[in-house]
């Protein structure tokens, strides 16, 4: 194609391209949470999203020679992909997560808006994330700026998830995946963050999962439903 001189966006290296693809995968998992109709699938999608972040941590560790990150990847995999989903599943066992009673495992109708409009608004929110990162001009030595923009978009879209879905489980998962967005940001901006800090965050997360699980149980016990719409009657 000789003679074509228009400006093109050059391809990043295979490594940064791959890292960006993983980051985009995290964002797509976040969008997938808008659609999930069952508690079980929502928790599974969260585990998949967390697994992607661990993979990204391993990729960064291997290519940038940061052995700390291997520990972080293993710890984050153990906690977010294995333990937190198990804890949530155990705490929610009585209320349909195991699929005994379809009434409680179904969270399909908890959208405040139609799914298509939700996705369009979320795209706008993600766009805001992308453009604000571009405007801030933050650069990272380890990963491309696109991954940073994606991580900011993940955080914002997780907020959207908590706002537009009116069931407790999606809101809890929204909060947990918001943490995923933040840890993706941490990975991009400061891959060499002190390990002790990361570990402290991860254990905080475990506490959050337990507290959420208990709150969901209590809510379900009182309101006999997973919907937070019933809480509006508490207004004074």
């Amino acid at each position: 194609m000789s003679g074509i001189t228009a400006a093109t966006v050059a391809a990043p290296s295979v490594l940064s391209g791959g890292a960006n693809v993983i980051a985009v995968g995290v964002l797509l998992a976040e969008f997938g949470m808008f659609r999930q109709a069952l508690l079980r699938d929502q928790v599974r999608l969260y585990a998949a999203q967390s697994a992607l972040i661990s993979v990204l941590a391993v990729v960064v560790a291997a290519t940038r020679h940061l052995p700390d990150l291997y520990v972080l990847a293993v710890l984050s995999f153990a906690l977010k992909v294995v333990i937190v989903p198990i804890v949530l599943r155990r705490l929610l066992r009585g209320i349909g997560l195991t699929g005994e009673d379809a009434r409680w495992s179904d969270i399909a109708g908890s959208h405040a808006l139609s799914l298509a409009s939700t996705v369009l608004i979320a795209i706008a929110v993600a766009a805001f994330g992308f453009f604000s990162v571009a405007a801030l001009g933050i650069r990272s030595p380890v990963l491309p700026t696109t991954a940073l923009a994606v991580s900011v978009a993940v955080t914002l879209v997780a907020f959207m998830l908590m706002i537009v879905r009116r069931d407790v489980i999606s809101q809890a998962i929204g909060f947990l995946s918001l943490e995923n967005g933040v840890s993706l940001t941490a990975l991009v901006v400061a891959a060499g963050m002190p390990l002790i800090l990361e570990v402290a965050f991860l254990f905080d997360l475990l506490v959050v999962a337990v507290v959420f699980g208990l709150l969901i149980r209590v809510h379900h016990g009182r309101a006999e439903s997973m919907s937070t719409a019933d809480l509006t009657s508490l207004r004074g």
Binding site: A11, V14, N20, V24, R35, F130, T145
Partner: protein
Amino acid sequence: MSLVLPIPVVQCLQVVTIAGAAPGVSGLISKVEARLQGRAGPRVLQPYHDIRKLFRKEALAPDGSTWVFLAGPLIAMTCYLTVPLLIPVLTTFGLPLGYMGDILGGGFILSLASFMVAVSALDTGSPYAQLGASRAKTFGAITEPVILFVVFTVALVTGTDLPYALAATVRSSASQIVRPAHLLAAAALFMVILYETGRIPVETHTGTNEFGMIEEARPFEHSGPYFALLKWGSAMKQLILYTILLNVFVAPWGLAATPDAGSVLLAIVSLVGKAALLGVVVAVIDNSFAKLRLFKITEFVAAAFLLAVLGVFTLYLGGG
């Protein structure tokens, strides 16, 4: 392999390949689909026999229909015969007529074909044909932005929107393949193709479920050679879209680099092979998912739109 084909012959071969192989690919998909469901299924060559049979039957037009009813299938077929001139079907180098139009040009011609089919369906006054035409246009309007964003991605990646340029870019290095913009655009295009060819998350391709029909409902009133043209045309549209996905986005390998008879023949075989593989994938998807309710199709399209828009976003920061 010293026989060098004249360029116009290669150009004609592009059209002949698409027109000749299209019913076979459709037949293969229905065969694989049937096998996956444990049925014997029709022969792979069945669509050829159907088309031959229909060409020998008489054509009837409903009372009160005008010339548009009969012109629709002819114009649509002409469009489907034109598009293979514009896209890289067999060669890596642009053929003389390949520069008549870019991806958008090809898209316009495909839309003209679908518009003519819709208009000739409307002309019949039959409720089902009109229903199909109206739905096809409604949902066509919401898939259009997805295609536009895919084209934007291509334009940002290559600086042009000639399909030959993107195929060359993809072939040039591995970093062009793993970049997220490319993967997202290809995935979005694949979802649009599932919609455009009336495959499962959107529409059941076979059967007589009139209420869920979109594309398949339009030729209800056509008969004889006109119906044959519509059937053949829709098979060709499917293979054209597969060719765009395969030879431009996903696997632009195996194309002829010179107009040499041997490599052109190899290109024909590899195109048919790749299309058959893609057809098997589509058949598996057909069997693994349920058809979406008509009003849920917007969600499917919104997902495709999301992928296409994210592709452009990732390019915006220069990392896509």
